[in-house]
């Protein structure tokens, strides 16, 4: 077997193989059973290394945790899967696909959690301060298609009297993204607690509720940190996504059918020390099945926290 196939297969796995070479690989795979076995062994290795890395991360988190009951002020929210998998030493959860079932567990940890001030996290006053799309600055919500409402459709706000109603964007509308999103911008320049830590993470949490609980719902949370201050960062915002000085993380969450009511999801983003602006986005994704009509979802109780290792604090 030609030794270069190793390189070709790995570049295909990494997504860096040009189309003409991918076609050559395809033709060779069709006719060569040994090459197919090699390809499948590489795929198995790829999954297994991901599993090893994930379980190592989970074990490290547990080892970093102080004894239960200690430092109750230093808590963090974790998805249950990697934690339980590592604790039990079992395979389940190690090939974590980032599906989160809406179960979360709180535990003591070696991180200090510093709540950040979010504009109107309970949507009690946002109605008058809502822009279309990403807002130009801090202190307001932006939305594609949303409005603040009181209890309706049998859904009560998580807290207070109001919540954000995420209205579906009609499929007929010729837009690139049919997810109904809301946005907010935070100024990170004056965070007293951040100190000199290069390991700080920011955690974005929100609660979603669908109006139809018999089908699954998909939500997204995205966080974007930029080196520019808010007034510059929000100018031609979307064109900056691939730029140096911009880091982002996004995750989709599936709320399983048969679980009516609010479900809480979180996303974490490692925050480069030089970040000056954080933009966070919550969205409801329309059903993939185009025969299904998109439906209304609600968002409430938004929280943003800075997670700082205790060792990094003065």
């Amino acid at each position: 077997m030609n030794h270069d196939w190793h390189d070709l297969i790995q570049r295909y796995i990494a997504g860096t193989l040009p189309d003409d070479e991918a076609l050559a690989l395809q033709n060779a795979l069709k006719s060569d059973p040994d090459l197919r076995a090699l390809y499948l062994d590489y795929m198995n290795l790829d999954v297994a290394l991901g599993s090893h890395a994930e379980s190592r991360s989970a074990v490290n988190e547990i080892l970093a945790s102080p004894m239960a009951g200690e430092a109750t002020r230093t808590t963090r929210w974790l998805s249950w899967r990697p934690l339980t998998a590592a604790a039990a030493g079992i395979v389940f959860g190690m090939f974590c696909t980032s599906v989160v079932f809406g179960f979360v567990a709180q535990r003591a940890g070696a991180l200090k959690q510093v709540p950040l001030r979010v504009f109107d996290p309970g949507m009690e006053h946002a109605e008058a301060i809502m822009e279309h799309g990403v807002p130009d600055g801090v202190g307001r919500w932006g939305a594609d298609s949303a409005k603040v409402v009181a209890a309706e459709n049998g859904v009560q706000p998580v807290e207070g009297q109001r919540m954000m109603r995420l209205e579906p964007i009609p499929r007929e509308k010729n837009v690139k993204n049919l997810a109904s999103r809301v946005y907010q911008v935070l100024d990170l320049r004056s965070l007293p607690e951040r100190g000199a830590s290069s390991d700080a993470e920011v955690q974005i949490t929100g609660s979603f509720c669908p109006t139809k609980s018999k089908v699954s719902s998909r939500y997204l949370i995205r966080a974007i940190a930029l080196e520019e201050p808010p007034e510059q960062a929000t100018t031609e915002f979307w064109s900056k996504m691939e730029s140096d000085g911009v880091v982002s993380e996004s995750q989709r969450f599936d709320a399983l059918p048969g679980h009516p009511g609010w479900q809480t999801f979180s996303l974490k983003l490692r925050l480069p020390p030089e970040s000056k602006t954080l933009v966070f986005i919550f969205g409801a994704v329309p059903p993939e099945d185009t025969s299904m009509q998109p439906f209304v979802h609600y968002l409430d109780d938004v929280r943003v926290s800075l997670l700082i290792p205790e060792t990094a604090l003065p």
Binding site: I13, Q26, L29, D41, L45, A53, F92, V247
Partner: protein
């Protein structure tokens, strides 16, 4: 006479899913070009399995069938953007991957010792590269390398690991 324990449906599902998750993930991965896409499709697969789970006895073939269809749907969408393997080859790879479950399970066990045989710096590097959220350009920058040289180093490490795994299994078969 004591009856075998009757688990609630959710427990049954979790037990079966835990038993087959690794093989299912490898199966999906064999059909798709990138790890991220495999994770994305696995999300869809687990939701469908959860929604439609009703029987225990035929879980594995049913779950693999669901996974195959989900991966094919994903590839159809992906085909508009870039070259992906054609359906004939994808089915061929899926069939052979399903048939190689035991071999791949043995390889995953052998990987444990092969990772330990790697120099510590290489082991750390490859596991860091596979840690969720790691960006190759960031990792390369932290190491003072270009992304291309990092990719090449990772290729060499993966190749060494695969050769070690294959060699280990071949030796076990001759004992």
């Amino acid at each position: 006479m004591s009856q075998p324990p009757e688990y609630p449906p959710h427990d049954q599902f979790l037990r079966l899913y835990a038993e087959h998750e690794v093989a299912l993930h490898t199966f999906v991965r064999s059909m798709l070009p990138t790890r991220e896409e495999a994770s994305e499709v696995m999300q869809e697969v687990i939701v469908i399995l959860w929604q439609k789970f009703s029987r225990v006895d035929d879980f594995r073939p049913w779950a693999f069938g669901v996974a195959r269809m989900a991966a094919l749907r994903h590839l159809e969408r992906r085909r508009r953007d870039r070259h992906v393997f054609d359906s004939e080859l994808v089915h061929q790879l899926a069939d052979e991957s399903a048939a190689m479950s035991e071999r791949h399970s043995d390889q995953r066990e052998a990987l444990e010792s092969c990772l330990q045989k790697l120099p510590a710096t290489q082991r750390e590097l490859v596991l860091t590269a596979y840690t969720k959220g790691t960006r190759m350009d960031d990792l390369a920058s932290r190491r003072g390398q270009t992304p291309m040289s990092l990719y090449k180093l990772l290729h060499r490490i993966r190749q060494a690991l695969l050769e070690c795994v294959r060699r280990t299994l071949a030796q076990e078969q001759t004992i």
